[in-house]
């Protein structure tokens, strides 16, 4: 009986819009149960309608947030995978070449060179190689030039040949 009196008092406050959200929840919960009081029975459909409708929204929101949280989690993982990959790469290079942080870095013919002068001499050697190659190239172009001269000398003969065929 006490419960019914409490609900009736809450109902009065509800209809005067004086109840808090918590108290309104108590009312909705009460009307979900098997109400026997004749006077209170009249309000049952209204409160049940409110509860049903609120449940529908909550259900939809729950579906929505679960979809969202999984997609967020996935993108979060991807973001951290790239950071982890970069960190692993940095660590790897450090482990492979630990003591060469500040010195001259030069690799010639697959040999690591630390001495500056040795590097310069090796570079000179390479440059002279290239120079000699350029010299050979020059020689071959000179030969081509002489071939060109022969072509020039032949051109009057070719024009004569043309003239002869036209006359035919």
């Amino acid at each position: 009986m006490e419960k019914i009196d409490e609900v009736k008092a809450l109902l009065e406050r509800y209809f005067n819009a004086e109840t808090t959200l918590k108290e309104e929840q108590i009312l909705r919960d009460y009307f979900r149960t098997d109400v026997k009081d004749e006077e209170l029975l009249a309000y049952k459909p209204l409160f049940n309608c409110f509860s049903d409708e609120a449940d529908k929204i909550k259900e939809l929101e729950h579906i929505d947030t679960s979809i969202q949280s999984t997609s967020l989690k996935r993108s979060f993982h991807f973001r951290w995978i790239s950071v982890a990959a970069a960190a692993a790469l940095a660590l790897f290079t450090y482990l492979i070449m630990p003591e060469r942080g500040d010195s001259l870095k030069l690799i010639i013919d697959g040999v690591n060179v630390y001495n500056k002068e040795l590097a310069m001499s090796k570079a000179d050697g390479q440059m002279s190689n290239i120079n000699s190659m350029m010299g050979k190239f020059k020689n071959s172009t000179a030969q081509l030039e002489s071939m060109g001269k022969v072509g020039d000398a032949l051109s009057p003969l070719r024009s004569m040949g043309k003239a002869m065929t036209q006359n035919d």
Binding site: Y14, F15, N16, A17, E18, L21, E24, L41, A42, Y43, P45, L46, N48, C49, F50, D52, E53, A54, K56, I57, L60, E61, D64, T65, Q68
Partner: protein, 169 residues
């Protein structure tokens, strides 16, 4: 607000928005969807202009205006054009059948209320907003919201008690 943040906010709100809009329309969920879409577009436009402090209240406020516009438009267009338009009254047989069957349709309860009262009841009793949030959405004071709400609930009470008597007699 970046488009991604905006999408997250909007998708979180969407079920509530759809529910709210569907309280205004009788011709199916697609119209409610359209109204929500219109409100979201308006929200996006306003988010370009200013930083939104309370996106939920602003969205509900915009949607409320969209819904009221829809009702006005519908009244202007449909009532005069449709000769079969029918105003449902308490004596209507269809309504009587609905009540007899205790068809649980929140719209049948709320349809007897003026729009502002109906909105107040929806926001409070279904969506569970606090008084100050409802005041923000409706653009009015908390005291005014309480008045709206108590008037609406009293009317619902009268209706329920009258139905109860009918059923018993």
């Amino acid at each position: 607000m970046t488009p991604q943040e905006f999408n997250i906010v909007v998708s979180k709100l969407r079920p509530r928005l759809i529910n709210f809009a569907s309280g205004f329309v009788k011709d199916g969920a697609s119209t409610a969807d359209d109204m929500v879409q219109e409100a979201i577009i308006k929200l996006w436009k306003s988010s370009e202009l200013q930083e939104i402090r309370n996106p939920e209240a602003l969205t509900m406020h915009i949607l409320k205006n969209v819904c009221l516009d829809y009702l006005k438009l519908k009244k202007n267009n449909m009532d005069s054009l449709n000769p079969n338009f029918h105003i449902y009254t308490d004596n209507d047989p269809l309504v009587a059948v609905e009540h007899k069957d205790e068809l649980c349709s929140i719209n049948s309860y709320l349809s007897i209320l003026p729009h502002d009262q109906m909105i107040a009841v929806r926001l409070r009793d279904i969506m569970g907003y606090e008084m100050d949030e409802i005041a923000k959405i409706l653009g009015t004071s908390e005291g005014n919201v309480r008045t709206l709400l108590s008037r609406a609930r009293q009317r619902l009470r009268e209706k329920l008690l009258a139905n109860g008597k009918d059923r018993r007699s």
